[in-house]
Symmetry: C2
Subunit: 319 residues, 2 copies
């Protein structure tokens, strides 16, 4: 086994995972903790403890953190609603405490970078990734580089508007793809349609309607549930068409916790809608939709590899 090149940490709304990672993405050690809520100071100390326990620290391995929220290019968490922090200069504080180089980026951006480096996007220089879960996130790779954006807020693919004035989105707007394809939205759509008493579905017996219960019903053969997943996929294809018209990637990855189990309904519908909405269809091959490969590790591994890459670039520049 080769040496680790960085420590990766993925900070989610309820839990965080951390590990040392090698250049080929092998996870050598792994820690899992609760994410401290609404306490930036405690979050930073928790991450510092992870770093030390994984053998990092003063002048040692670079650290990459992926975190749900809006993160500036310098690694300040401007707004992390799931974790309950804002305006937290996490990269600089953690670098100070731990004594090593720290990169902090959006978790879906980190996951996209991980997939491009060692996952389903390996060897592809231009790709998009949608991450499907409670919400819809994503990332963009252009010319082999994952987009961070001018303010650090690139890659919010969940808020591509597909139907202005359409369904309400948790972000406060209407018609974002997240309002059609997130787990939360699929649960809401199911609930709305159950008002029609002629709809025959096992979902009537569920106490809660979420992406998870819709998926479970679909896997058990419920055609009402599968139609909701296919519709979500169709809208994803519409959002993808807008982005392919602008970015012309080679590949579109679908990742996130809900991707694998729902792909048999989501992907064909997304492909259909992309083909229908793409400009210049007769003169081009539409990029394929493919499942992401790294699963739940994508964010952690991607954050580690991005930190390693930045450390190498900085070292190269310093020499």
């Amino acid at each position: 086994v080769s040496d680790p090149v960085a420590i990766g940490i993925d900070v989610g709304g309820t839990k965080l995972v951390a590990a040392t990672v090698t250049a080929d993405g092998t996870v050598l050690d792994r820690q899992r903790r609760e994410t401290p809520a609404r306490d930036g100071e405690l979050l930073q100390r928790t991450l510092a403890r992870c770093v030390v326990e994984l053998g990092g620290g003063e002048g040692r391995l670079p650290v990459g953190v992926g975190i749900a929220g809006l993160v500036t290019p310098s690694g300040e968490v401007r707004y992390g609603p799931n974790i309950g922090v804002r305006d937290l200069p996490l990269a600089s504080r953690l670098a100070e405490t731990a004594g090593c180089e720290v990169s902090v980026v959006n978790d879906a951006t980190a996951a996209t970078f991980g997939e491009q480096r060692i996952g389903a996007g390996r060897g592809r220089d231009d790709l998009l990734m949608f991450t499907l879960g409670t919400g819809v996130g994503g990332g963009v790779v252009v010319g082999g580089e994952v987009l961070i954006g001018h303010a650090g807020f690139a890659g919010e693919l969940g808020h591509v508007i597909v139907d202005e004035g359409g369904r309400a989105c948790p972000c406060g707007n209407r018609g974002c793809i997240e309002a059609y394809a997130s787990g939360t939205s699929m649960g809401l759509i199911a609930r709305e349609r159950l008002v029609d008493l002629s709809v025959d579905t096992t979902l009537r017996d569920e106490a809660e309607l979420t992406g998870r219960t819709v998926t479970r019903a679909a896997l058990a053969g419920d055609t009402f549930a599968t139609s909701i997943l296919a519709e979500a996929g169709w809208w994803l294809g519409v959002a993808a068409a807008s982005l392919v018209n602008v970015l012309d990637p080679e590949l579109i990855l679908i990742g996130g916790g809900a991707a694998l189990q729902t792909s048999r309904w989501v992907l064909p519908a997304a492909e259909t809608a992309l083909a229908e909405h793409l400009i210049g269809s007769p003169w081009r091959v539409a990029p394929a939709f493919e499942l992401a490969a790294l699963g739940d590790d994508a964010g952690m591994v991607g954050a580690a590899l991005l930190a390693a890459k930045r450390a190498t670039a900085a070292g190269g520049a310093a020499r």
Copy 2:
């Protein structure tokens, strides 16, 4: 005056312009000809003649061509509906005939590069440009590089879908921003609304309703016409919001033949819609909309500067 670095040619649907261009974008000489329609062979010979008359040729200045249509990374015009060509390997044929390096790219891509290098986007590494005219085109600059895309079809900003199933677009789909903000679409929208006989507008007296006539009426104080321009701007802001959520640029340029005269109505409405639809608004500054600066020369100058850049890069690599 410094020496020219390249020859730039902008091939439009009815006319083409060609010139030698210096590194700072100064146009030293200028030719204007009819664009040969539906004849790739004649088009290529016409361009070769321009090159020779501008002092180019065997081993001399690199040539950059911007052309309306879908152009592959190798400079093959896959589909140029306005010019009536398809599957024309223009870059390789012209390079053979003229004996110099030739780059062929989409005209709006060339214009975007020109604006980023020496126009309104100078010094900005991340920007979008919408070009407004008969249709809506555009381009994207990420990290200082203009996007060509995997197949060469990046930058079709006119076909960002803002309202799936909405207004019919000339591309065959529905709800593209071009169906709301192009000159053609604004003319159609005006015509549809004149069915309401209570609408008071000088446009009733026009033989033809186009972006041009709507703009002329707006400039003369017709409030019905100004409302159509403001609506077009509002939809542009919606399309921009989708793209800013994904790409997070610093600046959004509005260029093309219709930009300057309509900006007082289009830009404020676009800014309003962008602010309304952008995710994380409280934690970020929305990119500004600004008018492009190079006018009709943007495509020609941009194509020349792109050819010069590529020739330098190739020369650097060869050394």
